[in-house]
Subunit: 455 residues, 2 copies
């Protein structure tokens, strides 16, 4: 009997927990799920043989290490800032550890020490980071092995709402960490295009989004992620003229989000110094010229240089920016008020299913010809519990667990799933689950440049 | 003999140190100046009787408390984050303490404990915060005492370059903390105008600057500070329809700074992920459409929607944005590169003198009439050592020291100089130094609203 411990029973852990439970009997596993909320953990394990739930205060050294000591293999789904606590214990107690989070310098250092003790320590085993690496690196390897020279690497991904559940004018609902949605893109966006460094300031990012078709569906748009340049060394793409990773939204989202940025609603620095209750309409009026002869909606449209009947104005109206609803507690930042509003407006309905899309587009020269390969994944969730996001975060972790405990990952040396000896069996197992990237080779089209639409 | 200890011998401490030295004999003081740099402290005290310099590691508990123990009265000119260390010692050892920094919650708490022990603990005794409070509150008191009702409070201040030393197209040089210059205004700007909450996002701040005359000189402009609303409770202005504090620049600065913001050069979040040397021209080209048939200056003018011969383009050219000079070390943020460039470009020349301007404009109703009182200060420095900034930070501290040690501040109860019993004698003493606010009552003109020029 192998004893597996999962820390964290939150939204993105559901598929992982249930898959481990399904495999427990045939694999001879005992699986424990530990979370700060005993209620949450019971919801996730109840009625599922092979799973045991426990409540734990993971910041208590005693509770945490006592729990780890009783197991062989640990999967941490905790917020990334808590991984190091778990990793220190695992190193000390001689337990294997995997996570779905970025491997920072601290975790890299712990992983190196763990490898010397013969332990399996790995991060970036979820969706993004995780599946994005494994699928992109497979393509890159295939092209290089067949003598191709890569001239452009673009990779797009997004967590969205399934087409038949898309019933609001933003074409968006919250399927992952809402704070990351509110603060997305803050800073300087950097990528390469046709050999040149390309930089975009935050206040131009969302107006730069370009229409795009994925998997034959011409309904998406994409804007560049904050830092695409770090993938040059990560993916071995030095000298490749065009490199960009981008975020996918359903078309129409980014122009409206740009309006929120232009208004100033995504600022997370300044607590509002107002000491009387304020409605959303009053709050928005604060950002606009003060002219009582026009409605706030009209003043806002003028401010944004949009016609009053523009679809963006309908999106803003729908979310309640011109309503008499109170903005809530005193002393929060604009970004806090916006988050509280959108967590309510963009809530998943009981039968909603989410959608994850990912597409890599690689241009390469081979035998004097230029080709473009596209590799795309579209995966829909089952319901608001078993989401596409939870599937694609949890299944790579579950397969890595199974493969390691069956002795099939001995040759792995890196703390991230970059080597074929781990990526290939995981991608194969995902295919058996019905989660496949579909590849096509097309006549190369220019990758979008996000500076053409500026101003 | 009273023993006075000054921590910190940096740029803004010069006038304070020399004034304490000048007063030492008549007041029967021994004055010690302590700094991490023994060289710096010797520069400041050498040839000046009454002053002794010592090198100290202020973060060493032993060194710091040994030094404090030997003195009666401590003035901390250290970075604000180090004040608490000094304050804890002063509380423990029974020493008086003043600073020129904002009194945060921690210092407020320590001040309350100190007062119970009969100690004089006070912050915000410099220029801004300091002189701004004392002079504004005196006007507010005068108006209230004569039955006036305040309807608008505006207060503007700026650290500038004297008119006859103003020899660059930005009309600006660095006379204070360069980091604060680069990051000025980031967040959401908030003030009140005609009874309404007014909010401005950072990316609209500098284009909102309004022309303004101060002291009869029609050469300035002003943009609103980040948080004017906190002065409602601080200054007892509840119900006053218009409240704004603003930053003064010489006209033409803000439009050019707006160009730097629009380009994205003030972002301090994202380290640049470039691994080959980059010239300023290449860096700026990164933000612009990539079209080799136009010069970077022309592309930049188009991006900013400015004519190619606009004065802003000359300001950008002058600072070197279109030059082949390298931007420097790898991996810094755009704000870091901008700061390094401007610290060089905006350096004071050996004979440069700086200028501090401050003006309060208060509208009030009295006996059925509406009046506006303006109270303005213009003060020029002597040279790059004895700057106007150092005078106006240091003299209130020096006078507070003298007044307290002469037993003239016994009635003070607040940890900030808001009470007439401290503000009036300090303002009177400043007048004896020739530093006076000039008051005039004028027909009221509408205070500028910074939303009228938006878009």
């Amino acid at each position: 009997m192998k004893k597996i411990l999962v820390f964290g029973a939150g939204r993105s852990a559901t598929t992982l927990i249930w898959t481990l439970g399904d495999l427990a009997k045939q694999e001879k596993w005992q699986v424990t799920v530990a979370d700060a909320s005993g209620d949450l953990v019971q919801q996730k394990v109840s009625g599922r043989p092979g799973l045991e739930g426990v409540e734990v205060n993971v910041e208590s050294d005693e509770e945490r290490s006592a729990l780890i000591k009783r197991h062989d293999f640990v999967i941490s789904m905790l917020p990334w800032s808590l991984h190091a606590l778990v990793a220190e214990d695992c190193l000390h107690l001689g337990k294997h550890l995997i996570t779905a989070s970025y491997v920072n310098a601290e975790m890299k250092d712990l992983a190196a020490k763990a490898r010397k003790k013969g332990l399996f320590f790995m991060g970036e085993l979820g969706l993004d980071p995780g599946l994005d690496h494994m699928s992109a690196l497979r393509l890159i390897r295939q092209i290089k092995e067949t003598g191709g020279t890569i001239t452009s690497f673009h990779s797009y991904a997004g967590g969205l709402i399934a087409e038949d559940c898309d019933n609001n004018p933003w074409h968006y609902k919250i399927t992952w960490n809402p704070r990351n949605i509110i603060l997305a893109g803050q800073g300087t966006i950097q990528y390469r295009h046709n050999g040149a460094l390309r930089l975009l300031p935050y206040h131009h990012l969302f107006s730069s989004a370009m229409p795009i078709a994925i998997g034959g569906k011409d309904r998406y748009e994409v804007y560049p992620n904050r830092d695409s340049l770090k993938y040059i060394s990560m993916y071995g793409l030095k000298g490749v003229p065009s490199i960009m990773r981008g975020t996918v939204r359903i078309r129409g989202f980014s122009k409206a989000w740009d309006a929120l940025v232009k208004l100033g609603l995504t600022d997370s620095l300044t607590p509002l110094g107002v000491e009387e209750p304020l409605s959303w309409k009053q709050f928005i009026a604060g950002f606009l010229p003060n002219d009582p002869s026009y409605s706030v909606r009209q003043l806002c449209a003028d401010y944004l240089s949009l016609p009053a009947d523009d679809v963006v104005m309908d999106q803003l109206e729908w979310m309640g920016l011109f309503s008499d609803e109170p903005i809530g507690d005193f002393g929060l930042t604009p970004a806090d008020y916006l988050q509280n509003l959108l967590v309510d407006r963009w809530k998943l309905d009981p039968h909603d299913r989410d959608l994850v899309v990912m597409e890599h587009r690689i241009h390469y020269e081979q035998n004097g010809k230029v080709r473009e390969i596209r590799s795309s994944l579209e995966h829909e969730g089952t319901d608001p519990d078993k989401t596409a996001m939870a599937d694609l975060v949890g299944l790579p972790l579950a397969h890595a667990t199974r493969l390691f405990l069956n002795g099939r990952l001995d040759a792995v040396t890196l703390p991230v799933p970059f080597e074929p000896c781990i990526a290939e069996p995981i991608l194969d197992a995902m295919e058996s689950d019905g989660i496949c990237f579909r590849e096509s080779v097309v006549a190369p089209s220019d990758p979008p440049s996000f500076h053409t639409l500026m101003n």
